[in-house]
Subunit: 190 residues, 2 copies
DNA sequence: CCCGTTTGCCTAAACCCTTTAGGAAACTGC
DNA sequence: GCAGTTTCCTAAAGGGTTTAGGCAAACGGG
């Protein structure tokens, strides 16, 4: 029998495609084996187990998002940077829903520390260079931005804003305006 | 053999407890059957299927959150109301992580429309009565608040803020300050 | 009180996904 | 062209889901 040419890398990439097509939680070692027209057990030479596959897809998604964010932020600052970063998150989630879900898959501490997630956090912080915020408010602001982007995209893809006016596009724009305004007028501790 | 006294309601409540103990995605019809010391097939007289169980747990969680939010908002306005509502979300997520995950389980449109989710949305809007916001900005603000609360709690429970200073408690307080400030100074369309 | 009906739980069985163990065929380099 | 390694296979055990069909406990009326 001819070999299928499986590698961990090809499997993970195919797994990411599968996630986008059928949803991250439908990604299974069996489905992946079918896609390569290969017996299930064969994948276990390349993947420790099902959880390992999901973790690797998560890491791939984080890398891709970090790369896009880095590209989008280059040469921008202030509100331009804010909007560019925000749109990277949102666009990625729309183009790759399965990967986006994967990116929020819980990782153990060591894995998370070595992932592109830290790069994304650094880039989020870089946005704030265009605003005048000292520590610890800078960290609070980083956490706020992360929460808003993550939260909004999550609610939007869950269909939260689909069937009501005004449409989601307008809210997104106005929320970016509001965040920009907030960062320029960050309140002093009361 | 004595009967176990299963009802859909008891199963759903036990399922919610199970979710809090072992995680929402570990909630399975089999595990629930074991908990009642009953054969798996017996549950299928009370639940259509596994998905049905999860949906019902989600609806229960939404009800509980809506009830708590309604209680917390009674007699409060302005920043008091904002903080009270926000803390209901956060406290619920910490006390009932499985249920909280369940509450964000995707529902089909009809189910969502009949769920306590709409009550939660109404309560979020009620918070804004203490601020001076006209439509459509009010809706944008509702969506922003939903995104922040949801996003923050999600990142926090995923361990996102656990291992770095300043601690999450402080960020949460300051973010509520910032949101209050933003709502009082909502920017005009540029 | 007893008998028929309803209801609740059971056995059995099919199907899918996961994971490990061990074997055979295909590549690799000498 | 042969030894060693890699790649994929068969086999099997274990668990979750779901349906079909059966028996017995509870219930309600005569």
């Amino acid at each position: 029998m001819a070999r299928a040419g499986l590698t961990t890398d090809r499997l993970v990439r195919a797994g990411a495609e599968l996630a986008d097509e059928v949803g991250f939680d439908q990604v299974t070692v069996s489905a992946l084996a079918r896609r390569f027209d290969v017996k299930v057990a064969s994948l276990y030479s390349h993947l420790r187990n099902s959880q390992d596959l999901k973790t690797r897809i998560a890491l791939l998604a984080l890398e891709e998002m970090a790369d896009r964010a880095a590209g989008a932020l280059a040469g921008r600052s202030g509100k331009d940077a804010l909007a560019a970063f925000a749109n990277v998150c949102r666009d990625y989630a729309r183009a790759h829903p399965g990967r986006y879900t994967a990116a929020r898959h819980p990782l153990d501490d060591a894995t998370a520390a070595g992932s592109a997630g830290v790069r994304i956090a650094q880039l989020t912080r870089a946005i704030l260079r265009g605003y005048d915020l000292a520590e610890p408010d800078q960290t609070h602001a980083v956490r706020l931005l992360g929460s808003v982007f993550h939260g909004y995209v999550d609610l939007e893809t869950a269909g939260g804003f689909a069937h009501s006016a005004p449409d989601s596009e307008e809210s997104w724009d106005r929320i970016l305006d509001a965040l920009d305004s907030l960062l320029r007028n960050w309140p002093a501790r009361p």
